[in-house]
């Protein structure tokens, strides 16, 4: 996949990790004590309490890793040329060079066909040029 698409995928992945992180933590968080007036919150079911403290750590590690991956991808962007004008100028140069080389190629081809067809009929010569 080209680098810009990879960058776009990475941005979407960061967004996905963000809302998954907040959503999961909000849904699975154990009850917190709001004020001294209220009694202790009821004890949590065991499944939550077992793996719960690791979840924020794992999720935030994943977020940081995704962000670092994004930075690495940005560093890998091949943005060498300085701006649009430089690129357009280079395209014009390459087109001119391409035309020159194309004409040279055409000349060589015609010379080759000409030297090949010394002694053959015009019909065979025409065949060769069409090929």
């Amino acid at each position: 996949m080209d680098i810009i698409s990879q960058l776009q995928e990475q941005v979407n992945q960061i967004a996905g990790l963000t809302f998954n992180t907040f959503g999961t933590l909000q849904r699975d968080a154990p009850s917190a004590r709001l004020s001294q007036n209220y009694p202790e919150p009821p004890p949590n079911p065991t499944e939550d309490a077992a793996s719960f403290p690791e979840q924020p750590k794992q999720m935030s590690a994943a977020l940081v890793k995704a962000a670092k991956q994004f930075d690495a991808l940005v560093a890998a962007l091949p943005l060498s040329e300085g701006g649009e004008e430089a690129q357009l100028k280079r395209i014009a140069e390459l087109q001119a060079e391409n035309d020159a080389v194309g004409q040279e190629l055409q000349r060589q081809l015609e010379a080759a066909v000409g030297s090949l067809s010394n002694g053959t009929s015009p019909a065979k010569q025409q065949q060769r040029i069409e090929f």
Binding site: A67, L77, N98, V101, L105, Q108
Partner: protein
């Protein structure tokens, strides 16, 4: 049941009855459309340009100007994004009712990020064009060299053949 479920094809086919004998008796195909056109009740434009953020009503966070330093802006937007995510986590812990502003900020940063990446696409297209032109020039030069070499070899062979024939 007797009615057709699909509409009949448009009746233009009758105009092309004598096309085989006289190709000019039938109408020309319509010219390509320019500007905006309406297709299935929504309007499209033939001018493929990325609308700027202001036109979409989104505030632009990175500086405007002719040449934006994409890498720097992308990196700083990434850092801002991380900071905003941390802020959102804090707000959810301490003042949970004020999440909306933070969420808006985060989505603004995402929109800016995607707009920056989209505006890199024309640059990518031009770079691809440059690469293709360079490849083509290289191939043509190679072909010129090959043809020259083959011509010289053919000439050499002919001369040798002439020489051996004449020697006999």
């Amino acid at each position: 049941m007797a009615t057709a479920t699909f509409p009949p094809p448009p009746p233009f086919y009758r105009l092309y009855k004598d096309y085989i004998e006289n190709p000019k008796s039938a109408p020309e195909p319509p010219p390509p459309i320019e500007g905006t056109y309406v297709c299935f009740a929504s309007s499209y434009t033939t001018d493929d340009v990325l609308p700027s953020l202001e036109e979409q009503g989104v505030r632009q966070l990175y500086p405007k100007g002719p040449n934006v330093d994409f890498k720097k802006e992308l990196r700083s937007l990434n850092r801002e994004l991380q900071l905003h995510i941390l802020e959102l986590a804090d707000v959810l812990v301490e003042r949970p009712s004020q999440y909306a502003r933070r969420v808006e900020d985060i989505s603004l940063i995402f929109k800016n990020l995607h707009h920056l990446l989209n505006s890199l696409r024309p640059h990518q297209a031009r770079a691809t064009l440059i690469h293709i032109l360079e490849l083509q020039i290289q191939r043509r030069k190679q072909a010129v060299e090959d043809i020259k070499r083959q011509r010289e070899e053919a000439q050499k062979l002919l001369k040798e053949a002439l020489g051996t024939l004449a020697g006999q």
